[in-house]
Symmetry: C2
């Protein structure tokens, strides 16, 4: 029995969770592999990871192979601070104009299409580009950035540009919360190693609780290495939502329905969750090993 291969997003949004996994020691029982969301999506879908965060749109497209964990998510209920459309023109003036979408996010690409179409009534010409704002704006009138580059930009907005926080825009459009990433386990791994999945889930839940109780301290420690001061980091961490309660499940399904409308998804799947096995049936194998 090998350690479960668990993905971890190497962006700031998951740094509190990482602190929790380290402080708890749970990281010692995982084969934790850090990567960008796009890398983790691919590795989970190819079976090179057992459990990982996955972008919402990719989960929705591959729900037949995956089960959701009941926590955590990367979500927002209003502004998100780290998903930004930066534009030379007001959004309503982007019809038929080139808009560069970062190749690092599929979920936010679809979110941008939904918002520009349904909230601003425009149909730009979309280009997929690496996340380099200067190059993007050399080719296009607007650019979608996500993650740490978006965060740094919204913290010090470039003069003369319109900045849209897409978490806030989503809420203004739909009244809903927005789920950017969920944690999922491959169905075949959940069937084969349900106790290992339950242990990872419990560790993620402990890490989440730890991180929510220590956000100020985590922001202070992280600010030594990040390009934002501790106060800005803490504000960002407190802006994010990590739960997956009914309001967030509803937000995810609303996103799925609109993604279908924009031909980014073939249908809305049922949200199927991993259910931990009852502890009474836990095999004694590990304990036997410890006696060895």
């Amino acid at each position: 029995m090998r350690r479960p291969r668990v993905g971890h997003i190497e962006y700031l949004n998951c740094l509190p969770l990482y602190h929790g996994l380290v402080r708890d020691g749970a990281i010692l029982d995982m084969d934790l592999r850090q990567g960008t969301p796009a890398e983790l999506n691919r590795q989970l879908l190819e079976g090179r990871l057992d459990i990982a965060p996955i972008s919402s749109i990719e989960y929705l497209r591959h729900a037949g192979e995956l089960l959701l964990l009941p926590e955590p998510t990367v979500s927002s209920d209003g502004p998100v601070q780290s998903i930004a459309l930066v534009s030379r023109l007001p959004a309503a003036a982007l019809d038929r104009r080139p808009v560069a979408l970062t190749t690092t996010s599929a979920t936010s690409q679809v979110l941008t299409r939904i918002i520009l179409s349904e909230r601003y009534g425009v149909a730009p010409c979309y280009l997929a580009r690496p996340p380099d704002l200067q190059r993007m704006l050399a080719e296009a009138d607007a650019a979608l950035l996500i993650g740490d580059p978006a965060l740094r930009m919204l913290w010090q907005p470039p003069p003369g540009l319109y900045c849209y926080d897409l978490g806030q825009e989503w809420q203004l459009l739909t009244g809903q919360a927005m789920v950017y990433a969920v944690w999922a386990v491959r169905r075949e791994y959940a069937a084969r190693a349900p106790h290992a999945v339950a242990a990872v889930l419990a560790a993620l839940q402990r890490a989440l609780r730890y991180s929510l109780e220590h956000l100020a301290e985590i922001a202070c420690a992280a600010a030594r290495w990040e390009p934002l001061p501790a106060a800005a980091l803490e504000r960002y961490f407190r802006t994010l939502r990590f739960g997956f309660g009914p309001r967030f499940q509803a937000g995810l399904l609303e996103y799925a329905r609109r993604a279908v409308r924009h031909d980014a998804l073939s249908g809305v799947p049922a949200l199927e969750f991993f259910v931990p096995p009852s502890p009474e049936h836990r095999p004694g194998r590990h304990n036997q090993r410890l006696d060895g």
Copy 2:
């Protein structure tokens, strides 16, 4: 200022150190990247890592670009349990016979040449091959294995094969300790970020002390995931040496001199160590950040 990029050997021999880095929380201030020794060698020499364990022979070949850390090392003073020559014939009968050397280790390849030549007086025909014992022995009369595969094999030796522990063989040949890997920092990084290097060194030293005080507990925790029982793991951890005192420096230099004799190294370099800067000159930058 980014986190120092620090390499970590993903083999069992460095698992106690990993427990120390996690339990201490020091891992949160590093960009820790796990890999095989060959991967870490390459990444350090290419400048994709700042500080990393590096195989002794590769350090000796590139000492001009690197400074040694005064701790830790991966060493032995007698048997090592995880570097094994497995042979159908007694070693003294391997003259002109094919011997397959695992491509995963450069240091042990040279060590094998030294021992077979100087202790057994034989000159086999060497082949470099991936570490698959069955395939190696289909092509050759003997095979060099290192790391976890060697450990598993020495724990349950295949019947009818001669097994040589190369740490023990080295000591029988030279009377010396053997250093397999050292920790080194790129000279340009040490010049640019001496305080960051000092912090990583201090963290490695704390992790080393922690691990030596908790070997039984670490072996128990690790045995849940490893193919060896806790008692065997603990015995292995206690067999290894992690220091770099005079006896180990002498062993490394002896190895260098013999490697030169076998045309595996052009000359014996002086062992130059990183010296931490005095704490009085530490810049206040980090503290200013924490107030931000």
